[in-house]
């Protein structure tokens, strides 16, 4: 399942909650933080570990709009929330993106074109704050640069679609 690093993080979340079914919500929170969204494969795995019926876990995951069951949007903005990026002001940049493109962190725009995810430190602290847009990493990011770049990326999509 997925890559090993994330798998290890999920394992830690499960362990921290003592593999208790009563901690399902917290565990789903943790899993979404790690993977960005909860697909069926992941939910099945969590259900299995907690010995809960998959239908029940799916029911809980779909009950709360906070949980994302689908892949993130076509373009994904990832904001690093590691200490360095945080200190260097990644937060106002995320807020600006949310406002500009009408979406919430962890979610996607209604048309599914853009999502914004948060990750933990990606190990390039010297360049903090770091925002990546699809495969492009923007170091020493500012909201102006980031928003401009996102608009460009979204513009390209439109041009292609026509």
């Amino acid at each position: 399942m997925k890559d090993d690093k994330r798998r290890g993080l999920l394992e830690k979340v499960l362990k921290d909650h003592g593999y208790q079914e009563s901690a399902l919500l917290e565990i789903l929170h943790g899993a979404q933080e790690i993977y960005g969204f909860l697909d069926k494969e992941l939910l099945t795995e969590i259900a299995g570990v907690l010995n809960l019926p998959p239908s029940q876990v799916y029911g809980v995951a779909t009950f709360y709009s906070f949980f994302k069951l689908r892949k993130p949007g076509e373009h994904v903005v990832t904001a690093c929330l590691g200490t360095a990026c945080y200190v260097k002001g990644v937060e106002p940049i995320i807020a600006a993106i949310e406002e500009e493109f009408h979406l919430k962190r962890g979610g996607s725009t209604e048309d599914g074109k853009l999502s914004i995810l948060q990750t933990r430190c990606i190990g390039a602290c010297a360049m903090a704050p770091i925002i990546s847009i699809d495969d492009v990493i923007i170091g020493k990011a500012t909201k102006e640069v980031v928003i401009k770049h996102i608009k460009q990326v979204l513009g390209e999509t439109k041009a292609e679609a026509v």
Binding site: T44, P53, P54, S55, V57, Y58, G59, T62, F63
Partner: protein, 236 residues
């Protein structure tokens, strides 16, 4: 074993019952019938349909009889013009919520919702109706679910979990998007936890779950839940 008993009054009649009983069972014991839909003998009360609401003196709040435990000295009213109007309203909302057209329903004449609506003189729905057009799942060998007739009473979910023990069924989403699902919202035939025991079809109060090609009159058997609970006692 001496269980604690308590006294209360239901529609002016004094009843004595054991602590922890619900108003519904206490009323039943003295032959008072409170209309119910989501409640089913043998399953854990759900308190979802609100049809069984009753008045309790000393408060203007209404209580679901199926899920409210009795208290000593309680005075309960199960029939009043207010309750009658209220139940009519509940029935109409249930009917308005999805595509309930009795004339073309497989459960016509064998439907608990229809029967109770008739008893309450509900021959019209005064709310704007929400004509749902959810997909019917007929992938299973013989079980079919038509979500457009579902009233989300969760009887099927509970019987599948509590008596069959496999919990294939649950609900997804919430509010008006709520629906019964099999496993992780799989087509029924792919829901591998389902044992095809048909209990869900037996207890469904409406025509939402039925058996392909079988006269629904023979499928429906809501008493099956209480029957199984009774039979299981022999195993202990």
């Amino acid at each position: 074993m001496n269980q604690h008993t308590m006294k209360l009054k239901i529609d002016g009649i004094e009843v004595e019952c054991v602590e922890g009983s619900t108003i519904l069972t206490a009323a039943k014991a003295i032959g008072i019938n409170i209309p119910t839909l989501c409640y089913l003998d043998g399953l854990t009360p759900y308190g979802g349909c609100r049809l069984c609401l009753v008045e309790v003196s000393g408060t203007s709040k209404l209580f679901p009889a199926c899920a409210t435990p009795v208290a000593s000295g309680m005075e309960v009213t199960t029939q009043s013009p207010k309750l009658y109007e209220y139940r009519k309203m509940v029935l109409q909302t249930l009917l308005a919520e999805r595509t309930h057209i009795c004339a073309v329903c497989i459960a016509n004449d064998h439907c608990e919702l229809q029967a109770i609506a008739n008893q309450h003189g509900v021959d019209h729905v005064f709310y704007e109706r929400n004509w749902s057009s959810n997909k019917i799942d007929s992938t299973h060998n013989f079980l079919v679910i038509d979500p457009n007739r579902c009233i989300l009473c969760t009887r099927c979910v509970r019987v599948c979990d509590e008596l069959e023990g496999v919990h294939t069924l649950d609900l997804k989403f919430r509010g008006k998007n709520t629906d019964v699902i099999m496993d992780q919202d799989e087509p029924w035939v792919k829901a591998c936890s389902c044992t095809s025991c048909r209990k869900c079809a037996k207890v469904c109060p409406v025509g939402a779950i039925y058996i392909e090609g079988e006269n629904i009159e023979y499928t429906k058997d809501p008493d099956v839940a209480a029957f199984i609970v009774e039979r299981r006692k022999r195993l202990k």
